[in-house]
């Protein structure tokens, strides 16, 4: 198996920060707000490896820093400290040392992101097909007919009716918007996909369909994924390995079934027990 991503000591502080920020926050301190300077330590010392084709889950309660991790890796936010290396065939990128053009290129071609809020991932001023075309245009395809047929095939794959490809996703149901977002993220066949609470707030039957779809795609394309969710059911279904976060720190990591059936820390035991 090949490593596709290596994250080391990733930290993110919101606020001006001070030398006490890290020592005064975390699970033992029961807060992520520094009492000295009032900054929020959204993530600290997060390290993990991701292998090609695997799904890593990040779970934890709201505010624990899950989104911060994927947002920094997708260049939505700038980390305060840490390193991340993306291995792409023979190439290798230090994600936090790239210039704007390089990071934009990776975002558009080699990474995909599906947000909980479809507004962040989709442009509601253009049609569903247009959303996918936008992403394809940023890659190397420029022929109109080809773009249109690729967009159609992608939407069909994510079970969006082709009749609706010329409509704005504004009028789509929540589940369908997520499927358009997935089609868009997949348009360039990225080897790495980030999924941030993609089924949160949807009906259970709609959720099930999206989770199935994600697993099918992962099998077909061997896309490596980081799945962020507070929903243990989603973690159980999708992720082979899981990180548990609290107050910005990874407090426990392991095989997903082990984390759920034999959690080692009091916090994870409580989290799992309360989800039963």
């Amino acid at each position: 198996m090949n490593k596709i991503l290596e994250v080391r000591n990733l930290s993110k502080i919101h606020g001006r920060g001070c030398p006490q920020c890290f020592d005064t926050t975390g699970p033992a301190q029961d807060t992520n707000i520094c009492p000295h300077c009032g900054s929020v330590v959204a993530a600290h010392d997060v390290s993990f490896d991701l292998y090609a084709g695997e799904i890593l889950g990040i779970m934890g309660e709201s505010g624990s820093g899950k989104s911060t991790v994927v947002k920094t890796l997708f260049f939505d936010e700038t980390p305060t400290a840490g390193e991340a290396v993306f291995f792409d065939g023979d190439a290798q990128y230090e994600l936090f040392s790239l210039n704007a053009a390089q990071s934009r290129w990776l975002r558009n071609h080699r990474f995909g992101m599906v947000y909980q809020n479809p507004h962040l991932g989709l442009n509601f001023n253009v049609s569903a097909g247009g959303n996918i075309a936008e992403r394809l245009l940023m890659s190397d395809i420029a022929h109109y007919g080809e773009i249109r047929s690729r967009a159609k095939a992608l939407l069909a794959r994510t079970e969006v009716l082709p009749e609706r490809m010329d409509e704005s996703p504004k009028r789509f149901s929540g589940g369908m918007q997520q499927r358009v977002q997935i089609a868009k993220a997949l348009a360039t066949r990225p080897p790495l996909l980030f999924l941030d609470e993609v089924t949160t707030g949807l009906d259970l039957s709609v959720q099930a369909r999206i989770l199935d779809l994600i697993l099918e795609i992962q099998q077909e394309l061997s896309t490596a994924m980081i799945v962020v969710t507070h929903d243990l059911g989603v973690i159980r279904l999708l992720a082979g390995r899981t990180l548990v976060m609290r107050y910005g720190r990874v407090i426990e990591a392991g095989l997903t079934d082990q984390i759920l059936e034999d959690p080692q820390y009091a916090y994870t035991q409580r989290l799992v027990a309360s989800a039963l």
Binding site: M1, A28, A208, R209, L237, L255, Q258, Y265
Partner: protein, 240 residues
Amino acid sequence: MEPILRVDGLSKHFQLHEQQKLIPSCINVSLEVYSGQLTALIGPTGAGKSSVLKCVYRTYLPSSGRILFFDAKGREIDLALASEHQMLELRSREIGFVTQFLHCLPRKSALDVVSEPLVARGAGRESAREKAAELLAMLNVPERLWGVPPATFSGGEKQRINLARGLIARPRLLLLDEPTASLDPATTDRVVEPIETIKAEGVAMLAIFHHPELVRRLADRVVELAPPVVATELLETCAH
């Protein structure tokens, strides 16, 4: 002959922080499993039989002892210490587990649930489905159920889907946790044949059977676990 699995002094206890309890499970278990043979674990409820299987699969983290697995390349791997990626690799290629309850995707048909392990290993969908159909017929699962998701099946039907899924991939080591618990005697009888078949093909099995009769018919070795020990109160303050 060398075993494919050698468990050496395995113990498992659960430390429940909230309740301040230490729950003992299996204690000092040693056993061997050979290719083409079945080792049966017996003992009263609560003795830790399921825990042994889960420690081998690393669903539970062993508390002490060694779990030596000899992989297809002849390497000796201590499953108690193997990396997570190493375990995932072994699970997908060499070690299968038929757990007591079936976990599967809600929308997938029984046939697809059973063929999944083969497809994941790169088999074509159609040939995998043919194999799955063969197994389901052998296990007496009515054909009208094959196209339906197992979520609505009876306990016994689900159990056979789960067993078929474990058998289809022919792992080098198969762990079986009470695969016949909710089957009637006639159906239990149907389970013997496919288990004997994969045994003859060289699959090693570590199994827990609800029916003592199956132990007699299928086991080459029997390991008996001691009765359970009571939980103890824990005096500790913990950080998390």
